[in-house]
């Protein structure tokens, strides 16, 4: 399943082809093909250590790929790194800022680097985020540091915003507030956003499309709506005997209850129901599934597949 459909290369803000990165013998990212359409929000979802940050660091040029290609806004970053950085904003989970600067000085300093800097927008965001301009960065709370990074990234009107675990370390209230700020900002202006997180709820709230990553591989990319319509849970009574599930298409996970069995199925359809019917399953109930369940079961299934290899 993918989100390519009938788009041209120029329609993508981010395009990677067989992107990989090795650290010695450890392969952190393996053959990633990822396409992010312009004007959409793409959520990169994976557990800690799955390879999200490594992919993002390659996209923004902090790491070099061991193999594969990257195109940002239709260009290879190494062709025009300065031009790309004018059009792309990156907010890392570590929120790199100059600690000794005040909020106001940080704005003034960053402004000098960006011709597209929008003073009015910066002032609006400063007000909306309630950031005190005279306060030193080192005195800011984690939440305010994250807001300042977002403010600096948005004030020069980038076409592509890359957010690497931007809510990491924030408490739930600040996290939610931060996500709402992102949503309100990007929904107005049709920017492209790549947002990485291990928190499914965040991705679900913000993203149009999602990529699930595990052990450096993209397991799945699609729109959230398509994923949800394609993945289902199927529940049925077992009456003491559990059916043989080998050969049933798309079964990702099986949960056994005392009197019932629940399957998580990928690519659900009539074929699945027919296969279950042929194994003596009667009256199966097809249930919707949460993105979290899809994420957990997809990752588990991949791990089991690897363990069995």
């Amino acid at each position: 399943m993918n989100i390519e459909k009938d788009f041209n290369a120029g329609d993508y803000a981010i395009e990677t082809v067989n992107l990989g990165r090795k650290f010695g013998s450890f392969e952190a990212v393996r053959g990633v093909d990822m396409k992010v359409l312009r004007g959409t929000v793409f959520g990169l979802l994976g557990v800690n250590g799955a390879g999200k940050s490594t992919i993002i660091k390659m996209l923004v040029g902090h790491l070099r790929p061991s193999y594969g290609e990257i195109r940002l806004l239709g260009r290879a970053p190494e062709e025009d790194p300065v031009g790309i950085r004018r059009r792309v904003a990156y907010v890392s989970e570590n929120r790199y800022l100059y600690e000794w600067m005040t909020v106001g000085e940080s704005l003034k300093f960053t402004r000098a680097f960006h011709e597209n800097w929008d003073d009015r927008k910066a002032a609006d965001l400063l007000k909306r985020f309630s950031l005190p301009p005279e306060k030193k960065v080192k005195q800011l709370s984690r939440g305010n540091r994250a807001r300042l990074c977002l403010l600096l990234a948005l004030s020069y009107n980038p076409e592509l915003i890359i957010l690497d675990e931007p809510t990491s370390g924030l408490d739930p209230i600040v996290r939610r507030d931060f996500i709402e700020n992102i949503i309100s900002e990007i929904s107005d202006e049709g920017k492209t956003v790549l947002f990485s997180s291990h928190i499914v709820e965040e991705i679900e709230r913000v993203a149009d499309n999602v990529g699930i990553i595990n052990d450096g591989e993209i397991l799945l990319t699609s729109s959230i709506d398509e994923i949800k319509s394609s993945y289902k849970r199927i529940r049925y009574a077992t009456n003491g005997t559990r059916p043989e599930l080998a050969g049933v298409p798309g079964v990702l996970a099986v949960e056994n209850g005392r009197h019932e069995q629940v399957l998580t199925v990928q690519g659900w359809g009539e074929e699945t129901l027919r296969a279950l019917g042929g194994r003596g399953v009667s009256n199966p109930e097809v249930l919707p599934i949460s993105l979290e369940d899809i994420f957990v079961n997809t990752v588990r299934a991949e791990r089991e597949r690897r363990a069995n290899q």
């Binding site: 923004v60 300065v82 790199y96 000794w100 960006h114």
Partner: protein
């Protein structure tokens, strides 16, 4: 890099390093301060004005110059390595350099800017310390002994000042070379303290072991004396362009090596 970017970067460097460089300049005047206190406080160094001759005054001045430059290229170099590392190493260590990497400016421009700013600060501090040393010692001597006047010792004064000017150029060139070497270490090692240790060890090797021959050649070129002869107070008698150029080339080599490493540096 636009004018606005340059201005912003200069402002940032100034704000980050102003206190460090003030401390650096003060540290480089420590021998002068000690000598000044010694002369001011010790009764035993008072002398009869009739004993003070132009020759004696010139000898004291040249001695002060040699002492100060000796201090600069020994103890001062350790300070220099510490401050050179602070130019880019500290930003690599605390990762604040990511902030600049994400701006629309090329990496080599960031490094060139930092190198030039640090080199100017280094050579200015070192150079000024030599000039102020001789000037202040001269003034002190003149004040201490009414038998010596600028009129009466004009030749000696000119001689010492011109030696000091040449000494300043020599010491600045050496300082620039040391700064460039340590700058390379600060780019190589992300932990600033590893760079300082590596820089200090390499400087010791450079000056007292591996590079000893090179510096003997530099000094013998400066004094027009065979290297085997004992150094005298005419240590800065000439400005031979060849060793100066060689030192500039060595410094440029270290800088280019820094650029090579920096351009390929990955930030994990």
């Amino acid at each position: 890099m636009t004018g606005a970017m340059l201005k912003a970067m200069l402002w940032k460097e100034w704000r980050e390093t102003r206190l460090k460089w003030l401390a650096f300049a003060l540290a480089f005047h420590i021998p002068l301060a000690i000598a000044g206190l010694f002369l001011a406080l010790q009764e035993s160094v008072r002398f009869d004005v009739r004993v003070m001759t132009d020759g004696y005054a010139a000898y004291v001045l040249a001695g002060a110059l040699v002492l100060q430059s000796g201090f600069l290229i020994t103890a001062g170099l350790f300070l220099l390595s510490f401050f050179a590392v602070g130019s880019v190493g500290a930003e690599l260590d605390n990762r604040s350099i990511f902030f600049l990497f994400d701006r629309p400016v090329r990496r080599w421009q960031v490094l060139l800017f930092k190198f030039v700013v640090g080199a100017v600060q280094t050579t200015t501090c070192v150079g000024l310390s030599i000039l102020t040393t001789v000037t202040l010692v001269y003034v002190a001597l003149a004040a201490m002994s009414s038998g010596v006047t600028l009129d009466g010792s004009w030749t000696g004064f000119v001689n010492v000042i011109s030696n000091a000017m040449r000494g300043t150029v020599w010491t600045m060139a050496i300082a620039l070379m040391v700064y460039s070497a340590t700058f390379l270490f600060s780019v190589l090692f992300e932990k600033w303290w590893i760079a300082v240790i590596a820089g200090a060890v390499s400087l010791v090797l450079m000056f007292y072991n591996l590079g000893g021959k090179f510096f003997e050649w530099v000094i013998s070129s400066a004094t027009s004396k065979p290297s085997s002869e004992e150094l005298n107070l005419e240590v800065y008698g000439r400005l031979d362009p060849v060793p100066l150029l060689v030192m500039l080339v060595v410094a440029t080599g270290f800088y280019l090596a820094s650029q090579y490493v920096f351009e390929r540096k990955e930030m994990r």
